[in-house]
């Protein structure tokens, strides 16, 4: 039994807290500190969990876990996944839903080696062609969802499979690869102990966070995600932003494909669906940090490396193969539950 009244306990509390009647100043300072701690706790608890996780692993494997090589393994290998998670975030922040981003990434990661390796096209040109193809994928998603108004879940579930099929067709269902050392250096060149691809990911996240927080278009995006009708009545072109989000998602997914080819050198087109869940897990995990209950790029950045820390630790302990799937899946459920609880707490606390 729920009550459908707008004035919740929070409203009551706020009005009383600063109401017209002066109240005896008693427990104020203490509760202010507690409030501050609660504020910190609700935003950065996940970092505490992360440190705890590292400490537990170090305890289990003394002098093995907290090493530079482990850090390199954690931070050096995940940039395609980070790009992919940001691609997912592009649609989630405007309140849309996209399941096809992994398929789009697969297209990009297939087109580049097919053109460059089999047809000897210049690698830069191959990347541009892949990017154009992926933008077309985004336009197709946007057309069906925004122009025709079909459910985004159904459209992107369908196009995810469609793009996967096209990638398999292009590659004849074979693993395709590229050997171009200069191209690999674009991603793998070492900078401050970590490959450039890591820094690209960080820059992308920071840039996206800046866009959302400090630019008019970013604020408009946030409002479209928070309440579409309010945004529309404020004169924002809501459909343009929705369509733009699908196209932006496909561009970032294309970049994720480029990162895969640059760092790994090849791609198995049938593997793209396996990238879907880890990216989603990181995005949802990100809602439990920095801005609790909201999709945000910095949170996603933490989410990716938090999950990778857990997996690398388990792998060092000797578990392998199944660990990755289990950890991503379990992590997703745990993350969404945590975010849900945090959101409820901030509502009633």
């Amino acid at each position: 039994m729920t009550m459908s009244d707008q004035t919740g306990p929070a409203a009551d509390e706020r009005d009383n807290g600063s109401g017209a009647q002066p109240r005896p100043e008693g427990p104020r300072p203490v509760s202010a500190i507690r409030g501050r701690l609660h504020w910190l706790g609700s935003r950065y608890a996940l970092i505490g969990v992360w440190i705890l996780l590292a400490a537990v692993y170090e305890g289990l494997m003394p002098h093995l876990f907290l090493q530079a090589s482990t850090a390199q393994a954690i931070f050096g290998s995940q940039s395609p996944l980070l790009f992919l998670a940001i691609a997912a975030l592009c649609t989630f922040v405007v309140g849309e839903f996209d399941l096809s981003f992994a398929g789009v990434m697969g297209m990009s990661a297939t087109i580049i080696p097919v053109l460059s390796g089999l047809h000897h096209v210049n690698i830069a040109l191959a990347c541009l062609i892949a990017l154009a193809a992926c933008i077309a994928c985004g336009v197709i998603n946007a057309f069906f969802i925004v122009v025709l108004g079909v459910s985004s879940l159904i459209v992107t579930l369908g196009t995810a499979s469609l793009y996967l099929g096209i990638a398999e067709l292009l590659s004849n269902q074979n693993t395709v690869s590229v050997t171009d050392n200069a191209f690999a250096q674009v991603a793998l060149h070492n900078f401050l102990g970590l490959p450039l691809s890591f820094w690209y990911g960080v820059i992308l996240c920071l840039g996206f966070a800046y866009l959302l927080k400090w630019t008019p278009i970013g604020r408009h995006i946030i409002f479209v995600g928070a309440n579409r009708e309010v945004a529309r009545l404020a004169g924002i072109n809501v459909n343009r932003i929705r369509a733009g989000s699908y196209i932006a998602a496909s561009i970032v997914a294309a970049l994720a494909g480029i990162m895969i080819i640059a760092t790994v050198g090849g791609f198995d087109p049938t593997a793209s669906p396996s990238y879907l869940l880890p990216a989603l897990a990181a995005v949802f995990l990100g809602t439990a940090i920095v801005m609790p209950g909201q999709f945000n790029p910095i949170g996603t950045l933490f989410g990716i490396y938090f999950l990778e820390t857990g997996i690398i630790g388990l792998q060092l302990l000797g578990y392998s193969g199944w660990v990755q799937d289990a950890f991503y899946g379990g992590g997703l459920v745990a993350a969404v539950s945590v975010a849900h609880l945090v959101r409820n707490r901030t509502r009633t606390a």
């Binding site: 009244d5 004035t7 509390e13 706020r14 109401g19 409002f223 309440n227």
Partner: protein
């Protein structure tokens, strides 16, 4: 004790974190009475109801009795419900596609031995309940086809349903949580009569309402909360006037909003003109609003005038019409919201939760939304002016608390409405269109909002106030137009609320059929 009270709550307090929301509240509802519960937004009313229905746990020390039997706290809703207490929510909670009988019996369908719903017994139970309440409604009518008053009756009948026939006639307590908000005029009277009948049969009702005339008209006694404390504990309503109730709610004497002095004739120059506006439910109308004028617009509910604010601001597509302001001319048939905004026309919509504000974002974010593009650079919007604007607005409109970073959903309804007003005033509009700006806000906030509307006009804005509240219109507007479905707009020339109400009915009397 000869007859135990239907519901007795004593020493009830509730603390959230460090904030005390209710302090030592008591409430007694007797059999055979309609009991009013009043208080401003944020007075603790909703929290009290949530404790009564078991959603919240009160602080230790409270007692809760139904018909003289003590309940264990926190109460469990099934226990309370079994003891005869039921709730009618604000939105009534009806399923439109189902029949009256199906709606009445939801949650307690009579079943056959195999567990199948027994349709005949269900319809009989519904008919018996309706009959007992003196309501004439066909049990097999589809709820979507009913009038507003009939829908309210169905919701009340559901709450007063016989519990498998073993409940005493007339027993029970019905809690109406602002359930009559959507009703007015004859519809409201009908529901009030039903409540009086329930009370006369020995039942009891606890009625939460924002409307003072309603509380006076229908309740026997009234309990008033102010800042989480009792301001009146079951005072006989007959001994109170509206003014006195208002004073108990607010704590100080409410200065009624005074009527503005007539605007000098010389201002009728720079004006906003609307010509030939018509839409799907609105016949063609033309009017103009002078600079600095508050023009009121009203009509009978459902006559179509409610569409006007949205057609005028591009929120809905008009069939035709033209809007002219000093900032430009807009053809409304193909106008977008953006085009209307460029002409300086802004809308404070009725549904602040759905159309007005993003509840999960902060006050500062919401207030700055319409001016982000104009005041920020494409690559950078400073947070400072957003915060400062929000602080200024909070001071001007007395928005509480004055924290720009607080989320909208944490504010009370009246404060949300003030934020919504501030958001659009900040854009420096030529024409401010408001739709029901005082709906479901308390008296204090209502006064603030109406005063702010007048201040906006004084600063040179043309204001169009579209409202179904005759008192607001008479108090605030320089001129009031009344819309009739057959005759279009008529100047009301009313100086009192009664005259205006008469005019609204007179303008619509020409309409074929009786006003529903």
């Amino acid at each position: 004790m000869p007859v135990p009270a239907r519901l007795t709550v004593n020493s009830l307090s509730k603390t959230f974190g460090s904030a005390r929301v209710l302090t030592d509240v008591e409430l007694t509802v007797l059999p055979g009475e309609v009991h009013g519960l009043a208080g401003q937004n944020g007075s603790g009313k909703s929290t009290l109801i949530k404790i009564l229905t078991g959603l919240y746990t009160p602080d230790p020390g409270a007692s809760y009795e139904v018909d003289g039997r003590a309940m264990r706290l926190p109460v469990r809703w099934p226990d309370v419900h079994a003891a005869g207490i039921s709730v009618v929510h604000q939105d009534l909670g009806l399923l439109d596609q189902l029949t009256v009988a199906e709606n009445i019996c939801v949650g307690g369908y009579p079943t056959s031995r195999l567990g199948r719903i027994d349709g005949r017994r269900r319809d009989a139970l519904a008919a018996r309940t309706l009959d007992r309440l003196g309501v004439t409604l066909a049990a097999d009518a589809i709820v979507a086809t009913l009038t507003a008053a009939e829908r309210a009756e169905v919701a009340i009948a559901r709450a007063m349903r016989d519990q498998n026939g073993d409940q005493d006639k007339g027993a029970g307590l019905i809690i109406l949580d602002e359930s009559t908000r959507a009703l007015s005029g004859a519809d409201l009277d009908r529901v009030h009569q039903l409540l009086r009948r329930i009370a006369a049969d020995g039942g009891a009702a606890l009625m939460i309402s924002h409307s003072l005339p309603e509380l006076i008209a229908v309740t026997d006694r009234i309990t008033i909360l102010r800042d989480g404390r009792l301001a009146a504990a079951g005072e006989p309503t007959a001994e109170l006037t509206e003014q006195e109730i208002a004073r108990l709610m607010v704590g100080t004497s409410v200065a009624a909003v005074t009527r503005r002095p007539e605007a000098p004739a010389s201002v009728h120059r720079d004006e906003v003109t609307v010509t030939g506006l018509h839409g799907a439910h609105l016949r063609e109308v033309s009017f103009s609003v002078a600079k600095g004028e508050v023009l009121g617009l009203t009509g009978l509910p459902g006559s179509g005038y409610e569409d006007l604010p949205y057609l005028l601001t591009g929120a809905r597509k008009a069939a035709g019409g033209e809007l002219r302001t000093s900032a430009g001319t807009v053809r409304l048939a193909r106008a977008s919201v953006a085009a209307c905004l460029r002409a300086g026309v802004v809308l404070v919509p009725e549904r602040r939760d759905r159309d007005g504000l993003a509840f999960d974002l902060s006050v500062a974010d919401n207030i700055s939304l319409p001016v982000l593009r104009g005041r920020g650079r494409p690559w950078f919007v400073s947070r400072r002016w957003q915060r400062e604007d929000a602080e200024t607005s909070a001071r001007d409109l007395d928005i509480r608390p004055r924290t720009p970073s607080i989320l909208i959903k944490e504010l009370s309804g009246g404060n949300q409405q003030k934020v919504l007003l501030a958001k659009w005033m900040n854009t420096g509009p030529a024409l401010l269109v408001l739709h029901e700006p005082t709906q479901a806000v308390d008296i204090g906030a209502r006064t603030d909002i109406l005063r702010q509307i007048q201040r906006a006009a004084d600063s040179g804005v043309s204001v169009l106030l579209v409202s179904s509240e005759p008192e607001d219109l008479v108090a605030t507007c320089d001129r009031v137009l009344v819309y009739g479905r057959e005759v279009g707009l008529r100047d009301a020339r009313a100086t009192t609320t009664d005259e205006l109400i008469d005019m609204i009915y007179a303008t619509n009397a020409a309409t074929a059929g009786s006003p529903a």
